[in-house]
Symmetry: none
Subunit: 250 residues, 2 copies
DNA sequence: GCACAGCCTGACGTCGCGTCAGGGTCAAGC
DNA sequence: GCTTGACCCTGACGCGACGTCAGGCTGTGC
């Protein structure tokens, strides 16, 4: 195959292939009399490896040493790629969860600390800056309160959404006080309404995602506090209802 | 907060913050008398947004226009980030699946086409090279079908498929050890079962294609090794049986 | 008052290509 | 046999997003 064909097949530019040739990362196994690059099936194979490692963030020089390592058979590359991809999957999931948490926090009128927000980036020691931040941003509650107000009163939409959320939470609290079991149909309906509210106002939230969110309500003290503030035991009640609803749907 | 502290908190270098200041992407809201950069909570907020969009592959200039767009409220950024992250999640999952597919294929002695391997990269026009693929790699429909079916496979499917394959191989080895002739009806039945297995699990494999596959078992050392590992002489035995079966059917 | 960590502003280097410029090649059609 | 247009070649410069000094000012603890 010629460069153009390979480029189109692999989804890269011709210039990229030229570059890889120049730096010795991927030199086509043949040339025509006129000097045209000719790529063999083995070359395509190598290109595939190159692109995978590149996608995983390796600098090209490192990719070359990896692929030229004679002690590494293809299966080893597959295993490594698999491991790295799964790492990445985990990280992306963590980031998705972080964004969802932030959305949820906004809806509930609480604001996360900078530490929480940056948690998903780089693996620094979470303890390290905690004291300092406390000192600088003052009492975290006050800081949150100020953020809450500014966030709550800027947009009208926001007010409506928040009102809907509070209305639902009130009805959930009422159900709890009335002794409705969290795994009853009525509780699950309320949970489903909660899911619909998220889906309608924020992002598509399938049942499993909702279940994960529900777990957060009891695991994260700030969410717990918000619910407990409305009615004691509500966090656990909602969490159970949400998960029961997810199980019902799944 | 000073640059160094912000840098440590956010997991970036001081130089990066200098850079963001220089290009006007993130200028700290204050400076000390000595010219030290001082970052406020709002600056951290913006930095967080910047890092998220950067992670998602946006060039910095575009990040600036996104964040400076007065018509986009925070919730809109969250929704966009959420959408993009979920896209990325899907893509990564597809890549993981592709690597797993390659691993399983290797173990089963089936090798994938370059097209299948590159599928996960860039969204090139699938029609574009169809003719060429047809010419070079054989029947397109068969390969497309293979991709289609494989795409839907879960991990359990793979386990099952692999187990079926191993079971059949074991019975073939037993037949070989029992002295069953490779061109006997019994051997041909086993070969036919092999063909059905491919057709059921991967792609429609008519007898002629199966015969070609059979030839590969002795011609390609990778396939040969897989079979010979189970029982000496098995590669040749299977190859003969497969071709006898194809002749019987044709 | 001094050591030493931390901050500043240039300014040049690097990586992974993008993007011309200037020129040869190849298959098709007239 | 000649043109046309798509494709290929090799420089060579440009660019984005920083890394990495260099040379000098600042702020804090002993």
């Amino acid at each position: 195959m010629n460069v153009g064909e390979v480029a189109a097949l692999a989804g890269v530019t011709v210039r990229t292939l030229h570059h890889y040739d120049r730096i010795g990362l991927l030199s086509p196994s043949g040339r025509t009399a006129a000097g045209y690059r000719r790529y063999s099936a083995a070359d395509l194979d190598r290109l595939h490896q190159v692109l995978l490692y590149r996608e995983l963030g390796f600098p090209l020089e490192e990719v070359a040493t990896l692929l030229d390592d004679p002690s590494a058979d293809p299966a080893e590359h597959l295993r490594r790629q698999h491991r790295l991809l799964r790492d990445r999957l985990e990280r992306t999931q963590a980031m998705v969860a972080a964004v969802e948490k932030e959305m949820e926090a906004r809806q509930m009128g609480i604001s996360l600390t900078p530490q929480e927000r940056f948690e998903v980036f780089g693996e620094h020691d979470p303890e390290q800056y905690e004291a300092e931040v406390q000192e600088r941003w003052g009492d975290t509650d006050a800081y949150r309160e100020s953020s809450r107000r500014s966030a709550a009163y800027t947009k009208e939409d926001w007010v409506r959404i928040k009102a809907e959320g509070e209305d639902l939470m009130e009805r959930m609290a009422a159900a709890l006080r009335a002794g409705v079991a969290p795994d009853s149909a009525q509780a699950m309906d309320l949970a489903e309404e909660h899911r619909q509210q998220i889906t309608g106002n924020f992002y598509d939230c399938p049942p499993e995602m909702h279940a994960a969110l529900g777990r957060m309500y009891v695991e994260d003290e700030r969410f717990t506090a918000t619910y407990e503030n409305v009615a004691p035991g509500l966090a656990q009640w909602v969490s159970t209802a949400v998960q029961a609803n997810a199980a019902r749907q799944g």
